[in-house]
């Protein structure tokens, strides 16, 4: 496989990551959201493996396998179980309507492209053009956390943001050192357990996972 084709596959996978990020932004059903999150993880792990191959960095294979197992299977499974246990059936409620969210998302992509343009000029890596996509994924994850009311979807937004950061690390510097990546993976896994516990607490206290309800949380007096 020559370098040119690898770079092309790399940018195509980056486009797919961006597409799934937008898909999550506009998806209304919660199961669809989780599936999209799993797809994003898959594209990310494929991308990491290809970057590892191109740059000849073997530790990227390990982080690719980690991403695959954690973000494609374990985390979506945990979310699935949580949603099943908490009996969430409703469509996701958004703060801003969906076409508007799309427009903001497009503006964010343009903004991150603009922000990354000088860095792109400085870098010599093959993956330099995907840096803007990585930043856009971070921004879109953030946007999703802002525009959704439901605690579960906010967490998915947070995880998508983490995906974006991971992607940025691979495309900016061919990945973080293996120790750091292992640590982050462990953190994400533990975070998954912690937010699971929190969901149950929020659910038992308010009978709903809508975070608007938390405004009622005041001391009796």
């Amino acid at each position: 496989m020559n370098l040119h084709i690898a770079a092309q596959i790399n940018s195509f996978l980056a486009a797919l990551v961006l597409l799934t990020a937008f898909g999550m932004l506009v998806q209304k059903r919660i199961y669809g959201l989780i599936h999209l999150f799993a797809w994003q993880g898959l594209f990310l792990s494929l991308n990491t493996a290809i970057v590892g191959f191109v740059a000849n960095k073997h530790h990227l294979y390990i982080s690719s396998v980690l991403t695959l197992s954690l973000k494609v299977f374990v985390l979506p499974y945990i979310l699935h179980v949580l949603i099943h246990r908490l009996k969430i059936r409703k469509e996701v409620e958004t703060v801003v309507n969906i076409p508007m969210t799309m427009m903001i998302g497009i503006a964010l992509v343009i903004f991150s492209y603009h922000l990354m343009a000088p860095i792109r000029e400085l870098s010599t890596l093959i993956t330099r053009s995907t840096l803007a996509v990585a930043l856009a994924t971070v921004m879109l994850g953030l946007l999703m956390m802002i525009t959704r009311r439901h605690a579960v979807t906010q967490i998915i937004g947070f995880l998508a943001l983490e995906n974006g950061l991971f992607f940025a690390a691979t495309s900016a510097t061919y990945g973080m050192p293996l120790v750091v990546e292992l640590g982050v993976a462990l953190d994400v896994l533990i975070a998954a357990f912690i937010f699971g516990i929190f969901f149950f607490h929020i659910h038992t206290t308010f009978d709903s996972l809508d975070v608007e309800q938390m405004a009622k949380l005041k001391e009796a007096g």
Binding site: S11, A15, L18, F22, I98, M102, I106, V109, S129, V133
Partner: protein, 314 residues
């Protein structure tokens, strides 16, 4: 033996006129098979058109010239559009004078007059259909232009022949911008040709029809022309998709044998596009009218993402 470009042009327009009813018949046949029904013959649309041409025209008392003029205009612009798209050969005289923006404009003129004619008689259905059609148009056309601009950026030209040439000769492998533009184009073609997630071409149910509501008052040869133009529009959109995204087989040399080969390729691609269309239509249910903004919004999003990924990734 080389063909004169003008002859190729005429041949192509004849093909568009002649093949489009058979294409619609083919789509209906596939649909019947996919639903386990026995299908009418492939040539049923020809018989329908002939029957309508024989029948008398019945005009409403208060029909103005717009109402009478519209069928001819719609038919004419669609035939002209059929001359612009380089389906058989790259070297068409009309294709050099009119680019892809003109093509969109031609469809827009046809649509504008159909909407006017829908309102002209003053029945409730016509007005409702026109209003819905224009709602869809206002959302679909920007997305359509955006998708086309994305391809034009990649090909550095808005001329269809030029685009075909560039995409044909360049490495087609994995260009994210063109892939996005293709998805957007598929979504828009469904909306523009009134296929299932947007409009149901087989229904005359009052609440859901859009295109049918506008042409409800037409009869006789007027209806025949409009129906025929609708069939051609479906064929043209499929052919445009095939030409822009899968341009293999289009003749560049201008020889007669190349033309025949291009015709065979065209039929093959159209047959395949019919299968895909039916798969989409049987897989989806018709959407609520108010959800169309999301549907067409995502088409716009895809087209814009295509354009952005052209700048970011390529």
């Amino acid at each position: 033996m080389n063909l004169n470009p003008f002859i190729t042009e005429i041949l192509q327009v004849m093909i568009v006129l002649g093949v489009s009813p058979a294409y619609v018949g083919w789509v209906r046949m596939l649909k019947c098979w996919s639903q386990g029904r026995t299908s009418p013959s492939l040539f049923q649309p020809y018989r329908d058109i002939r029957k309508l041409f024989v029948k008398d025209v019945i005009l409403a008392e208060n029909a103005s010239w717009i109402f009478r003029f519209t069928p001819y205009l719609v038919f004419g612009t669609t035939v002209l559009a059929g001359g612009i798209i380089p389906m058989l050969s790259n070297d068409l005289p009309l294709s050099a004078t009119a680019d892809v923006i003109v093509l969109v404009a031609l469809f827009a003129i046809a649509r504008f007059f159909t909407a006017l004619a829908g309102m002209d008689i003053g029945t409730a259905f016509g007005g409702m259909g026109s209003s819905r059609e224009m709602t869809i148009a206002s959302l679909a056309e920007p997305a359509m232009l955006m998708a086309i601009f994305t391809i034009s950026l990649a090909a550095r030209s808005t001329s269809l022949s030029q685009i075909v040439q560039v995409i044909y000769s360049g490495q087609p492998l994995l260009r994210p911008s063109i892939a996005f533009a293709f998805i957007a184009f598929v979504l828009i073609s469904l909306a523009e040709t009134g296929r299932i997630p947007v409009d149901n071409p087989a229904t005359h149910l009052e609440l859901t029809m859009i295109h049918e509501a506008m042409i409800l008052e037409y009869s006789g040869r007027h209806l025949a022309l409009i129906e025929w133009a609708g069939m051609m529009k479906l064929l043209l959109f499929m052919a445009l998709g095939a030409v822009l995204f899968f341009p293999w087989g289009i003749d560049a040399s201008g020889s007669a044998s190349g033309g025949v080969l291009a015709f065979m390729f065209l039929l093959l691609k159209l047959a395949a596009s019919g299968v895909i269309l039916v798969l989409i239509e049987t897989g989806l249910a018709k959407m609520r009218l108010f959800r169309l903004t999301e549907f067409l919004g995502s088409a716009f999003l895809m087209a814009t993402l295509g354009m952005l990924s052209f700048f970011i990734l390529e």
